[in-house]
Symmetry: C2
Subunit: 109 residues, 2 copies
């Protein structure tokens, strides 16, 4: 199946939400996403998202040694990221409610 299209945009918001819970790094974010039910988010999928969020100023980055492997890049959310996330949630909710109205009608998602 092709979930790629359904993930568009959603992933960006979810990654930001994960970082909002506390400073974290790429590999760990993948684990968080999969723990919440997302299927096999590859590294080639996640890292470009982080790069974009960083360039947009929604997250900040700092390098630090890992006790396990190579250097990690730790990300934390910025004030701009926080307000973007708040807006994102509103937009996301609105769209999912519109879609649910058509897809599931009487059911409440």
């Amino acid at each position: 199946m092709d979930n790629a299209q359904l993930l568009k945009g959603v992933l960006e918001g979810c990654v930001l939400a994960v970082i909002d819970k506390g400073e974290t790094y790429g590999y760990e974010i993948i684990g968080e996403l999969e723990k919440s039910g997302f299927d096999e988010i590859g590294e080639g999928t996640l890292y470009p998202v982080l790069t974009r969020l960083d360039k947009s100023g929604l997250i900040a980055c700092r390098r630090a040694k890992s006790p396990l492997g190579p250097v990690r890049k730790y990300y934390s959310i910025t004030p701009q990221g926080r307000s973007f996330l708040a807006e994102f949630k509103k937009r996301y909710r609105r769209i999912t409610e519109s879609a649910a109205a058509i897809l599931f009608e009487e059911e409440i998602l």
Copy 2:
């Protein structure tokens, strides 16, 4: 704001769901979508979706005169479309539940 990405894939499923409710045509589908809460779905957005669904064999097309304007293309769902829609709903639900778990945590969407 840019809802374009959040709509990716969702729109296709919603259009199919609208047609599943009964034979209809492009202009009317746009009305249905907006009635359910979607914002300004342009013609340049919808018609390519219909073309794709048709080519994929998920909907069937027939031309008929309109009492108001130019000829309409009426679309109806095919058996393949029905099973695709059922699968789509499962996938969509799974992804929105995963996203909600991260975005809204304890809240129940």
